[in-house]
């Protein structure tokens, strides 16, 4: 375990080395959140509620969803693809570690910085807009658990997509496809409750909701305590399923991969 934890430190240091990209990236995201806030605001001036969502709820949702989306936001498919093409993946595989475990903790270190900064920034904006009145201690604890599990779900999905990069040269396409899927079906832009009938049912059987929608609803309180528990359980099930899928795919992918260079 200690060997994996050591990767958090290096991931964190690496994140710090890229602080200028990281700051501009965060600013861009922040502007996006603010824009989204005003878009929803104008929608709700014409309508009191959309599928049960009121402006009261929405003005929390926008910021909480943004916070949830900011962990592992970059995705690592591109960087893995680059390491394959340059042959640097050789050096990762020469280490006595699980490749996936190494990736996870490294990302955790890098994401830690990003998350902490976003937490402070978005947290203050949230408080400025909503004040303290919606907060609940119990829900916050469940939220943090669910947020962490959501990270797990997101990581498993990203890992599977990064394995696809072993087979294709078009890692950019793979990354974009994954980004669109996760952004749309996780509830990053639109709360899933607002989706129309069939689409709502589809979304319910997909793993993406666990990334953002689940923790958000728990925090805001649109899920009852029972619903929250069930959703958290569902996240755990998805991590197990996607994790297994990643393991199976990995077994195949590492057998076909070409090691370039030398």
């Amino acid at each position: 375990m200690k060997k994996y934890l050591a990767y958090i430190r290096c991931g964190f240091l690496e994140g710090c080395a890229y602080r200028s990209t990281f700051i501009t990236g965060m600013l861009a995201n922040f502007i996006q959140a603010v824009v989204l806030y005003y878009v929803w605001k104008s929608i709700f001036t014409y309508q009191d509620a959309v599928n049960g969502y009121t402006w009261e709820i929405m003005k929390q949702y926008v910021f909480v969803a943004f916070l949830c989306n900011s962990v592992f936001s970059m995705g690592f498919e591109m960087s893995i693809a680059e390491r394959i093409v340059k042959g640097d993946i050789i050096l990762d595989l020469l280490k006595p570690l699980s490749y996936r475990g190494m990736l996870f903790f490294r990302m955790l270190g890098t994401a830690g910085l990003e998350f902490a900064a976003t937490f402070v920034l978005i947290g203050s904006v949230y408080l400025a807009v909503n004040g303290l009145r919606y907060l609940s201690g119990m829900r916050t604890v469940l939220f943090l658990i669910s947020l962490f599990l959501g990270m797990g779900v997101k990581f498993c999905i990203q890992y599977i997509f990064s394995l696809l990069c072993f087979y294709t040269d078009n890692s950019y396409g793979v990354t974009k496809a994954r980004e669109i899927l996760t952004n749309f079906f996780s509830g990053a832009l639109i709360p899933l409750a607002m989706f129309p009938g069939v689409l709502r049912d589809v979304v319910n059987i997909l793993p993406f909701q666990g990334i953002i929608y689940t923790p958000c609803c728990i925090f805001i309180g649109t899920f009852s305590a029972r619903e929250s528990m069930i959703s958290i359980l569902l996240q755990i099930v998805w991590i197990a399923v996607l994790g297994l899928l990643g393991t199976l795919l990995g077994k195949k992918a590492f057998g076909v991969i070409s090691m370039y260079g030398g």
Binding site: K2, K3, L5, A6, Y7, R9, C10, L13, E14, A17, Y18, G87, D88, I90, L91, L93, L94, K95, P96, L97, S98, F254, G255, I257, S258, M259, G261, G262
Partner: protein, 268 residues
């Protein structure tokens, strides 16, 4: 004890058959065609504990390909590899603990963070005891002259400095087997001399098994007793350097024999 055992090892690469130019690329996009390239064509050899062997062969002979299969990161197309009795590809993690690897062209150092952090990470990955870590850092620092740049990120090192740091990194956990693929690229003469001495000492005292490739005859002669000549994926010669000199040399030096070999494709 047998540290490395290779039997009838083969590697075929699938390579895209593309004609040049835009039209060629387009055609490949629609109807991709592949052909196989046999990089290693069924080689066999064994290396015992404490031996130091060198791979020698012209560019594209299949040396790096073989090393990639021996280190367990690439699956052979056919044949078997045993490292200390086990299949390295199937037991990648266990195998990685027992080997040290340098690919001179690549670096395991983290590009953007200080070199010392890469070393600390290795200490944790391999669970190297504090005492051993300090002793080795002290020793390598001395021999390889690391002290000057340990606090620099790897991107700021010169080629030779980077290679020296990579060599130290691969030795930190004192592996019983060392795979060195062109470990002296860009290293200056004085530092090379120290590296030779150091590797010979490690080989002698710790009985570390070494398999090395290099295009510098000096490397081979200084570090290794045994020579495996690999050409076009096949082994042409496998014995001591002395034997090669006696058999083919006459008045020629190792370098001259090898130049002849590469030019005429046979040992004469």
């Amino acid at each position: 004890m047998e540290m490395i055992e290779v039997r009838n090892l083969k590697k075929e690469y699938r390579i895209a058959k593309k004609s040049t130019g835009m039209m060629g690329s387009l055609k490949h996009l629609i109807m991709p065609q592949y052909e196989t390239l046999e990089a290693v064509k069924g080689i066999s050899f064994r290396i015992n504990e404490g031996e130091s062997a060198a791979f020698l062969g012209s560019n594209g002979a299949g040396k790096s390909t073989t090393i990639k299969m021996l280190t367990g990161i690439m699956k052979p197309s056919d044949g078997t590899v045993r490292i200390m009795g086990k299949d390295p590809f199937l037991n990648r993690i266990e195998n990685a603990r027992r080997i040290g690897v340098v690919f001179g062209q690549k670096s395991q150092l983290w590009w953007d963070i200080p070199v010392i952090e890469s070393f600390r990470l290795l200490k944790n990955i391999y669970g190297i005891p504090e005492e051993q870590y300090n002793r080795n850092m002290e020793k390598f620092g001395e021999i390889l002259g690391l002290h000057d740049f340990l606090s620099q990120p790897a991107r700021k090192l010169s080629l030779g400095q980077r290679v020296r740091a990579d060599l130290a990194a691969s030795l930190l956990h004192e592996p019983p087997i060392l795979f060195l693929d062109e470990p002296t690229i860009g290293v200056d003469v004085a530092a090379k001399q120290k590296i030779y001495e150091f590797l010979r000492e490690t080989n002698r005292e710790k009985k570390t098994t070494i398999l090395l490739t290099s295009h510098d005859m000096k490397d081979l002669e200084s570090i290794c007793q045994r020579l495996i000549i690999l050409e076009k994926g096949k082994i042409l010669f496998d014995d001591t350097i002395d034997k090669l000199l006696k058999k083919y040399g006459g008045e020629m030096s190792l370098e001259e024999i090898i130049i002849r070999l590469f030019e005429y494709d046979v040992l004469v």
